[in-house]
Amino acid sequence: MEKELLERGLNLNRRKFISKLSLGLGSAALGSLLIPDLFSGANNLEDTIMRGLPHFAPKAKRVIYLFQNGAPSQLETFDYKPLLCQMMGENLPESIRGTQRLTGMSAYQSSFPLVGSYYKFNQHGKSGAWVSELFPHMAGIVDDLCIIKTMHTEAINHDPALTFFQSGAQQGNRPSMGSWVSYGLGTENNNLPAFCVLLSRGKGNGQGVYSKLWTNGFLDSVHQGVQFSSGENPILYLQDPDGMDRATRRNMLDKIAALNQLEMDAYGDPEIGAKIQQYEMAYRMQTAVPEIMDTSKESESIIKLYGADCLVPGTYAANCLLARKLSENGVRFIQLYHQGWDQHGNLPNEMRGQAMDVDQPSAALIKDLKQRGLLDETLVIWGGEFGRTNYCQGKMQPDNYGRDHHPRCFSIWMAGGGIKPGVVHGETDEFGYNIIKDPVHVHDFQATVLNLLGLDHEKLVYKFQGRRYRLTDLYGNVVNQIIA
């Protein structure tokens, strides 16, 4: 009897289970009707990305990002705060600082004396934007720039902040902005990588840059940034060894490609496919790169425009000139880093040196792109990873002071490619500490850059380890006010 009862119970359970299962499946199926692309074979978006097409007509085709690594002070560049000069030496009011966390470098200071800019500010151009006297050349082109005074970020230290700017996350290992753009738009010129990186270093206190900043992360390796070095061979291992001619090289590559293809067919590893493509690209780069690196044909007027240093490899000026040449030849995303902007102390002196390095070449790049008719399709960005405090770090002297890291507000500028020229966007309070109007978060900035390139930041996604990733993570709003 007991046995029968048990069997009956089990039977019932089975029947119940199956009938409930059908109900459950039915409801799940009904729900799935609301997810449009769940059962449709070809995904439109993927198709778009495969073809390397923007989601909509772009305003900019290429980006040159002049990253000022170390975080230049907004208070000595574009954010004019006369109140700080009046209140020189007075303590930063608690109400202004609020709950802002500080770095270990100044958190234990007994006081936070406000310090005004050592350098004078003047208004320039039709827009009347305030620019510090350190940047006379940039001041001259201020009507081509859109200065954003209200950038803000979440990190307070260099590496996380820099990584955040580049990849949308502070921890690293996510694809860099240039890699996302390469993924979304593909390369324009098949003979050059879509994403190139150029490094230079000023004399100011510097912070390192690492190749993780231009990593492809989980994207295909073809989207990795290619670093150009300043030596005799800008790209290592690109030159044929002595005695090898083009035909031999071609022959060798064909054979290697055939071998790789066998392996690819057997295992289907996309990395092998990337390798085949990279070899081919390198072969084409062997002719394209020397042509671009050759600055001997640049006219004297161009040399004067960028400054004499533009012919000295590895300088910021040379990198600006090179960036123009790469961009002109269809490189989608050119990432420059200029180190030396970390002025915890000796700020007036070091900033003068840094400004000497970057002022003329940055302005020259804008002028040069403009005169070639390229500024309309090239987005140029100038800025660091965060701002600097309005109070002095360390000992304060009238002509010598330092500033610590400040994430709540800082200034960058953008120009060209669909950006409204001659605009100052956003306002900070008169202490230069908090934003009072139109904040622009790093994710907003990234969303805007992608938008200018014709990419919808919410649609540029890549699925990796079960999660969909975006450059802007879950955030970001396009700053429409600065788009022309």
């Binding site: 909509f56 772009p58 003979n191 007027s301 008719g373």
Partner: protein
């Protein structure tokens, strides 16, 4: 036995009578608070009759036998009861509403009709509706009234157009800035966006519609919405700026609020007298209202300005096939029929590559031929690109002779001719062409040509580029000395370089600053004695560079072996036995690997010449980096001997100490002595024990660093 159906029938009847009473005397009623509360349940209660009515309708249409059962009759009675009571609650609630629009009126009356119809249908259908057809028609009618009532009710609570909202896509609109009226173009969109759902002609909450000028000035129950020019009399403004917590704040706290910019616009609009038909451009350019309006208009223009093309898209597979390593053909964006074409790699370009684009010629709107060897003849072919808008011919081989052929391109708006041989004569056709931007930097056009061109076509955006190279005077950068400084044996070959072409490098060998009379560097040259090379770059039209210098030391007599008697500080003692005679001068910044450092004890070194040698001097190459506590030695002594015993003092020297911080240098300290023959020399030097008063580290011990000892 209590017949619940009868009770409900009776109650419903009473309810209907009460309803009629309420309708007749609604204007005279004053509701007690508890009835107000009851009325507010209307929005919850209404769901019961809807559901019950739908069930009744279904039964009438499809299940007649069911309708005959007693239980069903009870169910019908319940339907009537809830319908009637919902109608009553609704009427109570309507007393609270301040709406005066059509919506409320329609909702009220259709609800009443519904209640009456349901009552009659359920209790008296056997008497009046004797055929199935009549019954069914009535049910359909009832259902329609239910739908209408529900719709108007929904519009009252959620705002008009709530239901169909998601269907309304961004309508394309065109705004002509010169024709934009202030109200229509700027104010009305804000009002209709943020207030329009509740304040339109049909809903009119609070008796207010904000749809047109008449109703705006008329205002609502509480007064005039705006009084031109007077903010404090304009209710619209006052409601907008009430704190969010205030019940009277508008828009309601859960609805989308006006942005600060939008609010500012409304403020300035009222302040400026609330103009309606005035053109925006009729206001002065410095007018706040006009300034504030512009971003709004631009935003709206932007939304509607995505360029549409009316030609057919090309076959995408064909487009894909046209791509190769030198030619890139791509859609402007996903779904766009327009194509952009770029060529790369000058050596691989041929006219045929251009001609191959023929099948997609109609779709090409951007063409980039920069740096390609395009000549005048190929320009004719470009006429095939009938929809071309942007053409880049920078650094191509074209000149004046055939450029006019481009005037056939009716849609061409941007033309780039940088770096070509185009002159002013090639551009006379630009007059009547569609071109808006023209790039002519680095062509045959002179500055005055450009001025003339701009004068002729003031609307042309003429990009002339950087022209100041001749007048701009900036500094040259420093020359590069290829020959590394330091020791040499017999002679040294000096070669110099500068990155800029045709620069004059002038140099001196005696440490003085080169000037226009100094020697000019033409080719690498040899020098055979110690010297300090100073080089400076000069060029016409440039400021001379800063000088750059380097020191070269001729090696002395060969030293067989150096023995360190007194151990240097372990931190700076690398290769101690070789470092002093390795002919490597070291680097002022690089102490530790090329230098020996002493702090606690004196430096003592014995030099073994291998055999007795005639000597008269010894030179010590040392490092002086005062900021890093590295000073010259206080005292140096030199002894001679042939047997490592009986040392004879040859010379002793006190150094003069610096009296302020100076940049780091690597000087020679020379000690002369009477020429004598010895095999061994012993050198000793004493580091400074206490840094002087002026130094930041005063009183602390200093350092002595040396990198080389040279005999004679």
């Amino acid at each position: 036995m209590i017949d619940s159906r009868k009770i409900m029938k009776t109650l419903s009847f009473c309810g209907l009578v009460f309803l009629g009473f309420l309708l007749l005397f609604e204007n005279r009623m004053v509701l007690p608070a508890w009835l107000q509360v009851a009325g507010r349940w209307h929005t919850l209660f209404l769901h019961f009759p809807i559901v019950l009515l739908v069930l009744v309708s279904l039964a009438v249409l499809w299940n007649e036998p069911l309708m005959q059962t007693t239980k069903w009759k009870g169910f019908e009675a319940l339907t009537v009861a809830t319908t009637v009571s919902t109608a009553i609650l609704g009427l109570l609630l309507s007393r609270e509403q301040t709406d005066t629009g059509n919506g409320l009126f329609l909702h009220k009356w259709s609800g009443t009709i519904l209640a009456l119809t349901v009552y009659l249908f359920c209790f008296y259908r056997d008497r009046f509706l004797n055929t199935v057809f009549k019954q069914r028609s009535t049910v359909v009618f009832m259902f329609l009234v239910l739908t209408i009532t529900g719709h108007w009710g929904g519009s009252l609570t959620h705002g008009e157009g709530y239901l169909t909202g998601p269907f309304e896509t961004n309508k394309k609109e065109t705004i002509d800035l010169s024709q934009a009226q202030i109200f229509k173009a700027v104010v009305q969109p804000i009002l209709s966006d943020k207030c329009g759902n509740c304040h339109n002609r049909s809903v009119m909450k609070g008796g207010l519609s904000l749809e047109d000028s008449v109703s705006i000035f008329k205002g609502g129950k509480n007064g005039k919405a705006i009084v031109a020019g007077l903010l404090d009399k304009s209710l619209l403004y006052q409601r907008l700026v009430l704190p969010m917590t205030d019940k009277k704040h508008m828009p309601l706290s859960e609805k989308p609020q006006l942005s600060p910019d939008e609010l500012a616009l409304i403020v300035y609009w009222i302040k400026s007298g609330a103009p309606f038909d005035q053109l925006l451009i009729a206001r002065p350019i410095t007018d706040s209202l006009r300034i504030l309006s512009m971003p709004f208009l631009e935003q709206r223009l932007k939304k509607s300005s995505a360029k549409q093309y009316d030609f057919q898209a090309a076959d995408l597979d064909q487009v894909a096939r046209l791509n190769n390593n030198n030619r890139v053909v791509k859609q402007l964006g996903a779904g766009s029929p327009a194509l952009a074409v770029s060529f790369f790699g000058r050596t691989n370009y041929s006219f045929d590559q251009l001609k191959a684009l023929k099948p997609v010629a109609k779709q090409i709107v951007h063409l980039n031929l920069a740096k390609m060897p395009v000549d005048n003849n190929q320009l004719d072919w470009l006429k095939n690109l009938e929809n071309l808008e942007e053409l880049n011919l920078n650094y191509t081989n074209i000149d004046n002779s055939n450029l006019k052929t481009l005037s056939g391109l009716k849609h061409l708006t941007a033309l780039s001719l940088v770096g070509t041989k185009i002159g002013i004569n090639g551009l006379d056709w630009v007059t009547n062409a569609s071109i808006k931007s023209l790039y002519v930097w680095n062509t045959q056009l002179t500055v005055s040509d450009m001025k003339e061109l701009q004068k002729k076509f003031p609307h042309l955006l003429l990009e002339t580029g950087f022209q100041g190279a001749d007048t701009m005077v900036i500094s040259l950068n420093q020359p590069v000395i290829n020959t590394v400084g330091g020791f040499f044996k017999d002679r040294v070959n000096i070669s110099l370089k500068h990155v800029i072409k045709d620069v004059e490098l002038r140099y001196t060998l005696n440490g003085t600053e080169p000037d226009s009379s100094s020697a000019i560097y033409r080719a690498a040259f040899w020098v055979d004695s110690s010297f300090k090379l100073t080089v400076k770059a000069f060029k016409k039209g440039w400021i001379a560079s800063k000088s750059v210098n380097s020191q070269y030391f001729k090696a002395g007599l060969p030293v067989a072996k150096a023995t360190i008697l007194a151990v240097p500080d372990p931190k700076y003692a690398l290769h101690a036995d070789k470092i002093l005679i390795d002919l490597d001068a070291g680097d002022p910044g690089d102490f530790g690997t090329r230098t020996l450092g002493y702090q606690k004890n004196d430096a003592v070194v014995i030099l073994d010449m291998g055999k007795p040698t005639l000597m008269h001097a010894i030179k010590v190459l040392n490092l002086q980096n005062l900021g890093a506590y590295i000073f010259p030695p206080v005292q140096m002594k030199i002894f001679g001997s042939n047997s490592l015993q009986d040392w004879k003092l040859l010379s002793s020297k006190q150094s003069t100490m610096p009296d302020k911080l100076v940049p780091a240098i690597t000087p020679f300290l020379t000690m002369n002595f009477p020429a004598t023959t010895f095999r061994y020399l012993k050198f000793s030097a004493k580091p400074i024990a206490k840094l002087p008063e002026w130094h930041p580290g005063k009183g602390q011990p200093g350092w002595f660093f040396m990198s080389e000892l040279v005999v004679n």
